[in-house]
Amino acid sequence: MFGLDLSFVNWDIISRFVIKGFIFSVQLTVVATLGGIIFGTLLALMRLSGKAILTVPATIYVNGMRSVPLVMVILWFFLLVPASFYSLIPGGSNYRAEISAVITFVAFEAAYFSEIMRAGIQSISRGQVNAGRALGMTYAQNMRLIILPQAFRNMVPILLTQTIILFQDTSLVYAIGAYDLLKGFTTAGKLYGRTEEAYLLAAVVYFVICFGLSFMVKRLNSRIAIIR
């Protein structure tokens, strides 16, 4: 059918090419999600601080990042950062593309996660803020113990959805030649002269992973909601 021949696929190919790329894609997703949430929360707090010295740079950063295609940010960072930067990291020179991808993704995703966290923080009522303050909590304690835990819980479904999008977006590191899941398939396909089949398989793998995760998010969503 369509002249496709999938017979070249075997465990050897998967273990030699695909697994390595899959691991990097997952690592990139996990690090970018965690880093994005941490820096995104900081950006959100800066934007909500009401102090121009914090809100202005954070707003410029977030809006700037969100107005540029991710693939361009990936390319710029890779091309503009000098090689000497990577030698600062032990063994970094051999993984220029990968390190560059991780940093770019954290920086880029922070902008998106900050918008999610900002909405989450704003979803907490003034009354809750006042209750924390009335008990004598400082601004920082109130944020950390009362507002952020609730904001985070309210935002979990959206945070996970963003993570799924992020996982799909990791394939954009092809632009700088980092070895991710897609690259694993491409390499195998080229080696065996089966490019179309390899891309098709890659699409199936991405679909299964993302669809499965979306399904899990839906189920989790109903379980973690705060009882009100």
Binding site: G127, Q128, N130, A131, G132, R133, A134, L135, G136, M137, T138, Q141, L145, I146, P149, Q150, R153, I226, I227, R228
Partner: protein
Amino acid sequence: MIELKEVSKWYGDVQVLNNCTTSIQKGEVVVVCGPSGSGKSTLIKTINALEPFQKGQIFVDGQAVHDPKTDLPKLRSRVGMVFQNFELFPHLSVTENLTLAQVKVLGRKPDEAKTHGLKYLDRVGLMAHKDKFPGQLSGGQQQRVAIARALSMDPIAMLFDEPTSALDPEMVGEVLDCMMGLATDGMTMMVVTHEMGFAKKVGSRVIFMDVGGRILEDCSKEEFFSHPENRQPRTKEFLNKILQH
């Protein structure tokens, strides 16, 4: 214990508190009433600096609330507050609601905070619900937990901001009983409420506020209820309306 001197507050051009002066002695139960929009809630929230004010002075146990140098979180930790919408922390269990601020603000040990908090939970009659989450309790139960949470901090005074307004009618009684118990025990209280029965039973003084944030009446309970002829026309009108039913 609490002293307000010529407190005024504006939201932009709109004046919400107009030269409010009053004081609350130790052990007094002061009931604040008045039509909506008269600034009752705003007034009570200026006392623990949840609402800033532009003019005037407030002293709580000798500490100046209006002084920028005052450690406001510390001052707030000594004044309990109960809100109209309970404002328990929905992500924490009842016990955690009671202990969080004791541990984080007062620096008590978790065990000590728990024993102390549960003592008050028992007092409001909700020991059986200690491991539940706020969302699993009725409105009246939530408000009683909120009272226990404020008491766990061993406050020198308690502020109540319309504590029964958001409750179903059949739950008002249990919360009022709880507050009356506190009043009889000698707690210093300022209560924004329309529950005139509460004012008559345990109130020491009644403050009536009118639109524009002015204190129109500030007198003893006996004077307020027994001598309507001495009241201002606005007060009479208001009392007639709410006491009709």
